[in-house]
Symmetry: C2
Subunit: 366 residues, 2 copies
Amino acid sequence: MVDIIRPTLVVNKEICLRNIERMALKAKENNLRFRPHFKTHQSAKIGEWFRLFGVDAITVSSVRMAEYFAANGWKDITLAFPLNILEIENINRLAAEIKLNVLVENNEGAKVLAEKTTHPLGVYLKIDTGYHRTGILSSKTNTINSLVKSISRNNKITFKGFLTHTGHTYETKSTDEIIKRHFDASLKLKSLKQQFKRKFSQVEISIGDTPSCSICTDFKGVDEIRPGNFVFYDLMQQNLGVCTFDDIAVSLVCPVVSKHLSRNEIVFYGGAVHLSKDSIIDQNGKRIFGRIEIKKNGENILLDPFNYVSKVSQEHGTLKVTHDQFKNFQVGDLIKIIPVHSCLTANLMGHFQTTKGELIEMMPKY
Amino acid sequence: MVDIIRPTLVVNKEICLRNIERMALKAKENNLRFRPHFKTHQSAKIGEWFRLFGVDAITVSSVRMAEYFAANGWKDITLAFPLNILEIENINRLAAEIKLNVLVENNEGAKVLAEKTTHPLGVYLKIDTGYHRTGILSSKTNTINSLVKSISRNNKITFKGFLTHTGHTYETKSTDEIIKRHFDASLKLKSLKQQFKRKFSQVEISIGDTPSCSICTDFKGVDEIRPGNFVFYDLMQQNLGVCTFDDIAVSLVCPVVSKHLSRNEIVFYGGAVHLSKDSIIDQNGKRIFGRIEIKKNGENILLDPFNYVSKVSQEHGTLKVTHDQFKNFQVGDLIKIIPVHSCLTANLMGHFQTTKGELIEMMPKY
């Protein structure tokens, strides 16, 4: 951290490699295609780290991100976002070059795909397994049948199967609940697979969230996993019980600029434009925007939860600290903030620095 | 909006010019130096719009932003962030080229400035007038005296006066409260000015927030205003009673991708990486991430507060709408989201498009 003078997102490559390897092994042991979501890092260079573990298929969240990774040598990409029909021409252009899969969940999308797809395209139906953000409820077999029929009118399209994001695992209070929600989602998808595999023998199930993929062990009937966040993990995952602090690969290194003894607060340079405004409620009911690691006598020390990022504004962050810890912060010190949500922090920062000082670029903003 | 196919931040130049003109006139009528904060737009081109109204002094929130605007012809810049002593060399380099002011609020900062400043530099003391984020309480005259003494040891430094950000105007429930907080902050600063002007005849008062600068009328004794957000305004300011919807100059144009009748929800392409996760609690106690404007029969219609952005995740936004409005949304429609906090939305998007389709670039991310 010698040369750091302003908020800097530091990534520990060794931890990333360990996280990738663990997930790749789990996929292999369970006969799952490992199609990691690259929206977390948005970086061609970090993408290369996945190739070391045999990854050749990826997930992205936008057409632009698909274009960026296609330009960086990825030839098998699932765009895991409800079809944006306004981008059909870009999708066609991309499908001409690589193996591309998209999601559909409504008649409007299916109609545009059926009428306008010009190159081989895989299509998954997005299923809502309880998160209730997007997707078709698995019980709506009439809708599902009608969408499958609709896209099948275009012979460039292959109906790939059923895809879900069990995002409601993020709303749990225990790892048991995560396992239950994963089990329930798998059941729903397996029932659909059962119904459709007579007609579509290749029909697949694809599931996605980092909490399930990290801690669950039963993936029978599932064909593919698409976790993304696990490459970095973060405070949100740690708070859910999904990872330990040792698994978290990114931290925002920030200079201390001010101390306020009367309220046990430390102000650092690092705010909503660096960390994002994402927060968690910790076990003690406090809203937290990050945890703190300090260096003392050459050692990195993770402070307990009574010391935390209590507020962020545009460029400022505020730490609430205990009276005992207050003296351990000096103006000009560099502290490490463990971000609540590493995807949003990486997206805001736009680049990384490795622990060895190497610059890692990300996808340009536009 | 013909060519828009993905989330796009549209800025209305006419509204910006009107907002700038109104504030410039107010400053002129009250004999105030108008030193707008450029962290809101972070754009050299939008900066030029301010020159039309005689602006030649600006405020920024980081050394990098100061460097960017200095490179774009701005020669008088206040860096309104607590001194980051790790950046002293960059500050010296910049001070060699332009008129630069910085803030100090503690001994550590004053010491570094006194010992290391190599070029003419203006220094303000940051005063805490009740927001309690940073700054010295105005009652702490011993600390203030000691800091002034400390920086005065270096003859390159000019002690400029007292600067505050009355950020607690954002926590108010009525415009009367904003006026009271502004009045109270002004009183505190004027008392300091009174005490110091015998020794420092040029001592100044600089105040900053958009709510006070927009609605207050009494600026007696104040020398300078530094509002930033007013160039765009946003839902937060409208909700505070500081501006009307007609004053809001930016909107995020987003494609509708999905509809869910059973829960009266519309999903659009546009999430935390576009809007930010900033939210407000509206008059009905609901947490809101944006308001909605739709086009119907060629007319732009702002929907009532029962239709609003209720959730954002990384790339998805969810609208909660009334049953009556549900039918007015179609997959593939472009809707306008009025952002809660235009500064954070602009920072995330990294560029603008004018209503006439012109691209407006911002400061690069690194």
